[in-house]
């Protein structure tokens, strides 16, 4: 059996809220293999985003271990995590999160530049062309529609050819047809580059497009659904 790309053992997350400490994830055990596409579903507030965040090292698990490509993310510092993401991970959010003071092209080129690529801008342009935005290179995010912004975000996540793609409800803020187009692009990118994809969604038909589905309920894996697979 191939080593899992992502491997969580008893991963816990507790956050301090105003009303006291809140247990959000109660010990998650999960392995995701290379090249797999995983759909993560569950009711709102069940902890899907939180789980994705600790997989990406954007949030630190407060218990257990989170191994990614052989690195223990819970043991890495902020900067080491940033470098790890630079090499191995792309993240797409529901609200796009483009940097407003950068054009589309600059947004996409940023991770490539950070990685020291000499041809960052050429590659960024190619990536934007691939998502159909070759005519929008010099537009600022505020001048783009939601769907266009999400395509830029996709291009930015995919440009460094990460081994792992994490997407948190990437179509949540978009209308139906636009969302579908984005999904097609996301799966297209994954197919072309062979990345591992973890996709948070509450649309069952989107989850169904994945190799495997995982359900979360109240911060725990829904064992029934795992068994059903």
């Amino acid at each position: 059996m191939i080593d899992p790309v992502l491997s969580l053992r008893d991963a816990k997350l507790a956050l301090d809220a105003n009303a006291g400490r809140v247990e959000i994830l109660h010990g998650i055990d999960l392995d995701i293999r290379a090249g797999e596409t995983v759909g993560l579903t569950g009711p709102s507030g069940s902890g899907k985003s939180s789980l994705l965040m600790i997989m990406g090292g954007l949030e630190r698990a407060t218990g257990g271990t989170v191994m990614a490509l052989g690195h223990d993310l819970t043991a890495l510092g902020e900067d080491a995590l940033a470098r790890f993401r630079l090499k191995h991970m792309g993240v797409v959010f529901q609200s796009f999160h483009l940097i407003p003071t950068m054009t589309a092209l600059e947004n996409v080129a940023t991770p490539l530049e950070l990685a020291g690529a000499a041809d960052a801008f050429d590659r960024a342009e190619a990536e934007l062309t691939a998502v159909g935005l070759s005519h929008r290179l010099d537009h600022y995010p505020s001048q783009l529609s939601g769907g266009e912004q999400q395509r830029v975000a996709l291009a930015r996540a995919a440009a460094p050819r990460p081994a792992i793609l994490l997407a948190d409800e990437p179509t949540g803020n978009l209308d139906g047809p636009t969302g579908e187009a984005i999904m097609d692009m996301l799966f297209g990118l994954r197919d072309r580059h062979g990345a591992t994809l973890v996709l948070v969604t509450h649309a069952p038909e989107l989850a169904a497009r994945c190799d495997r589905q995982i359900r979360l309920r109240d911060g725990r894996l829904d064992t029934l659904s795992e068994a059903a697979e």
Binding site: S49, S50, M53, G56, L58, E59, R60, E78, D79, L81, A82, R83, R85, L86, K87, V91, F93, Q94, S95, H97, L98, I99, P100, T101, M102, T103, E106, T110, P111, E113, L114, A115, G116, A117, A118, A120, F121, D138, Y140, S142, R156, P160, D168
Partner: protein
């Protein structure tokens, strides 16, 4: 309206959080102006209260070169209860081998009519000056120290010995005496009789101080004195204005400092504007919701105008409190530094003035962002929040802003009384803001260009910084405007200060004389020249006969009525005579008289001053010399360079015109520095009545006086500096939300904290440097204008001052940026991004 009011009140329940910058900016500016105004009012009140003591009497009649005539004296005695006579002149005090320039005052038994002379050891002035074996004298400690004298030792004035009975700690009438070149020595008039110093032709003034019956009408008395004695050179002063020189100086300095304060308030206004904008950015949801619920633009404007108005009142109130209390608290300290009395209490006038300035400034600067908030469309909310930064409000608002600005400027003119300075300052601020706005636009465009150029590719930190500077919704405009204006004010003050400090020392001619010698008697002149030339290291010696005269009439009419309050007419001026045209005299108009001319008296007048007085060839001047009126006709105008420190006279008469008038000679002596000491000793031993003024000492005295003025200006500028820094911190703080988000996204795509920090630092440094660049240009321009038109002095660009201020600004910007980088760098990306999902 009442709905708006209720909504506003509900919104204000959130408290003052987020409004500290707003309050500080407004309060600081108002406080600075209120404090300056209060101190000025305090000094004016002090001068008024102690007017009689400062002047030395309820009124004073002064003469130059002579004592009062019998007629004058009896009139003075007829109107006054008591008349005290004093004489005042420069001389050399000698003790053994040491000698020093001193301003001597000879007094009678009645001195002082008002106030008290403070001596060390304590004793009363009468017994300190009484004649025992020798007449007594007291002198200021600095002079006694220079001469190596202790109480009980003897010193000489002219040919008379005196015993030093005590050190002079305080004279009640020193502030009214004006600017003396030497420390004071007090002796009795009687003691001076044998000194040989007060003779016809030597330069001395006499004062007659009057104690008047209570309720005397000072104005009527002044008119009476002037009609009776105006032509005889009597100068009148009374306690309504005991120290006119100081009052004028305080007035002008106060006006100047208030203008500096207004510039500071303008800087604060930018901070206020930025604070309101950032508050409104946080209120976008509320505004959109209110609009959805049917609130019109006008209601929205009113809701926030009420809130900001209440905050403005609080800010102005805090400023007034601070500005009123500060002079009260620091009163004793300030008073100890002042050469004049001051009364520190609450003065409503300056507080009202400061409050009006504060409220107007607040209104001008908050209407802009408020007007734009009302134009926000609910639909556009989620995009482009900061909205390009520069879009204009609708024209009625612009009109209101312009009108309020005009009112503010008009009030500044009215209150300060210095219309040219006020308009200049207002124009300067407006121009600086316009240039800064243009600069901000240029910086954005070029940063955007540069961000896309190949040069910065592969340097993500730099490109990020440039992108942030050039991109939409950034802080470029607000930082460049506020930091730029603050630095411009500072740079201007710095330029003015350095130029003023340098005005004296830099304008010195290559070869300045070492000494002026005054009061050389006619029969002493040949010996003086012989002995002086025999000394080692002595170069050129120039001499000229010297009298003093007052221009009383121009073409038969009272001079001041014709030509106004010009310095030439203000007192007596040096007058000389010459047979033939001096070599150095360059005529601009007219011709010189023949060598043997004996016709009606002619005068050669200084060209520039003549033009200022509106004189032309052939005009007739009445000059009162030693109580005698001489009518002279202007024969020519002549270039006079007062800056070269040589012998210069505004008026040169033909020789015959002054024939027989007793006079002395003035000499300038050029010498090597090493020769100066022995030279002074030899000459003053040989000619005890001759007064030597060391040019080096005189320059030091003047520089010190100017240094004090520059220091006062620096305090004014310091208030601007603090305000500027607060505005900067406000801008940095307002940008934090954006930076937190940016840092989170950058971390997500793989940027380390070091790189993010580098990009933030670069961004602050670029903005600081650009603001600084404009400040250098603006400061140089404004400094030049002030030096040229207000101070009427030369201007030279002060590189070090400019660079210090500007690099200081850039560093401050950098530090403020870095101080607020901690939160963005420390935040976990997940928390930040999630809260925006």
């Amino acid at each position: 309206m009442s709905a708006a009011w209720r909504i506003a009140r509900r919104e204000l329940r959130g408290g003052l959080r987020g409004f500290y910058i707003f309050l500080i900016c407004l309060a600081l500016g108002v406080a600075a102006i209120a404090a300056v105004g209060s101190v000025r009012a305090g000094i004016e009140a002090g001068l008024a209260r102690e007017g009689a003591a400062i002047l030395g009497g309820d009124a004073q009649a002064e003469f130059t070169y002579r004592f009062a005539t019998e007629e004058e004296r009896s009139w003075l005695e007829s109107v006054a209860e008591e008349v005290s006579e004093t004489v005042d002149f420069r001389s050399m005090a000698v003790a053994g081998n040491e000698r020093g320039l001193t301003q001597v005052r000879g007094v009678d038994d009645l001195y002082p009519l008002y106030g008290e002379v403070v001596l060390d050891p304590p004793m009363d002035i009468a017994s300190a000056l009484e004649r025992r074996a020798l007449p007594g004298g007291v002198m200021q400690p600095v002079l006694a120290a220079r001469l190596g004298l202790r109480v009980g030792d003897t010193f000489t004035l002219g040919t008379q010995q005196f015993e030093l009975r005590a050190l002079l700690e305080r004279e009640p009438d020193s502030a009214g005496a004006g600017f003396g070149l030497g420390p004071r020595t007090l002796v009795t008039l009687e003691g001076l009789q044998e000194s040989g110093l007060i003779t016809a032709g030597t330069l001395y003034d006499t004062q007659y101080r009057l104690r008047l019956p209570a309720g005397t009408d000072l104005e009527a008395l002044e008119n009476a004195a002037e009609t009776r004695f105006a032509e005889s050179g009597l100068r009148w002063q009374d306690s309504r204005n005991g120290a006119p020189g100081i009052a004028r100086f305080v007035d002008r300095l106060g006006a100047f400092l208030v203008l500096v304060g207004l510039s500071g308030l303008a800087v604060g206004g930018l901070g206020v504007s930025a604070a309101v904008r950032s508050y409104l950015e946080g209120k976008l949801d509320t505004i959109a919701t209110l609009k959805t619920l049917g609130a019109t633009g006008r209601v929205i404007f009113t809701v926030y105008f009420i809130q900001v108005g209440i905050l403005s009142l609080i800010g102005v109130g805090l400023g007034l409190l601070l500005g009123a209390l500060l002079p009260l608290a620091l009163g004793p300290v300030i008073e100890a530094q002042l050469p004049v009395p001051a009364v520190f209490t609450l003065y409503p006038g300056p507080l009202v003035e400061a409050a009006i300035y504060g409220l107007l400034t607040a209104a001008i600067f908050v209407i802009w962002p408020l007007a734009r908030a009302q134009d926000i469309r609910a639909a556009g909310l989620f995009r482009d929040i900061a909205g390009g930064g520069m879009s204009l409000p609708r024209w009625p608002f612009l009109l209101v802003i312009a009108a309020l600005s005009a009112v503010l400027i008009a009030l500044a003119v009215l209150f300060s009384g210095a219309w040219a300075l006020s308009l200049g300052a207002a124009g300067g601020i407006i121009a600086a803001l316009a240039i800064l706005a243009i600069m901000a636009g240029l910086v954005r465009i070029s940063a955007r260009r540069l961000a896309r150029s190949r040069v910065v590719r592969g340097r993500p930190a730099l490109r990020l910084a440039l992108g942030a500077v050039g991109g939409p919704g950034g802080e470029t405009a607000s930082v460049i405007l506020s930091l730029g204006l603050g630095l411009t004010v500072l740079a201007t003050v710095g330029q003015i200060e350095m130029n003023t400090r340098n005005a004296i020392s830099q304008d010195l001619p290559e070869v300045a004389p070492a000494y002026f010698f005054l009061d050389i008697q006619n029969d002493q002149l040949p010996d003086f020249l012989e002995i002086a030339h025999a000394q080692d290291g002595v170069g050129r010696i120039d001499t000229a006969p010297m009298l003093r005269g007052i221009v009383t009439r121009i073409n038969g009419q009272t001079a001041r009525d014709v030509a106004g309050d010009h310095w030439i007419l203000r007192g007596d001026r040096g007058v000389t005579y010459a047979a033939s045209q001096p070599e150095s005299a360059e005529l601009t108009q007219g011709t010189w008289w023949p060598d043997d001319y004996t016709g009606p008296p002619l005068v050669s007048f200084a060209a520039e001053e003549g033009a200022e007085l509106g004189l032309s060839l052939g005009d007739k001047l009445t000059v009162n010399v030693l109580g005698r009126d001489i009518e002279v006709e202007i024969a020519n105008f002549r270039v006079v360079e007062f800056g070269d420190m040589g012998i210069n006279f505004v008026m040169i008469l033909n020789e015959a015109a002054l024939a027989g008038a007793p006079h002395t000679h003035i000499a300038t002596l050029y010498a090597e520095e090493a020769a100066e000491g022995p030279l002074l000793r030899t000459l003053s031993r040989a000619f005890p009545n001759v007064t030597a003024i060391g040019v080096r000492d005189a320059i030091t005295r003047v520089s010190e006086a100017l240094g004090g003025l520059a220091a006062a200006t620096s305090y004014g500028a310091a208030a601007t500096l603090v305000t500027g820094f607060v505005v900067l911190i406000g801008a940095a703080a307002a940008g934090t939300r954006r930076r937190v988000f940016e840092a989170a996204v950058l971390k997500t795509v793989g940027a380390t904290r070091g790189r993010i920090l580098a990009s933030f630092a670069l961004r602050s440094a670029i903005l600081g440097a650009m603001a600084g660049l404009v400040a250098i240009l603006g400061g140089a321009l404004a400094g030049w204008a002030v030096m040229t038109f207000v101070m009427e002095a030369d201007y030279s660009f002060q590189v070090i001052s400019a660079l210090t201020i500007v690099s200081g600004g850039a560093v401050a910007s950098l530090l403020a940026g870095l101080a607020f980088a901690w939160a963005p760098l420390a935040a976990r990306p997940a928390r930040v991004l999630r809260s925006r999902d």
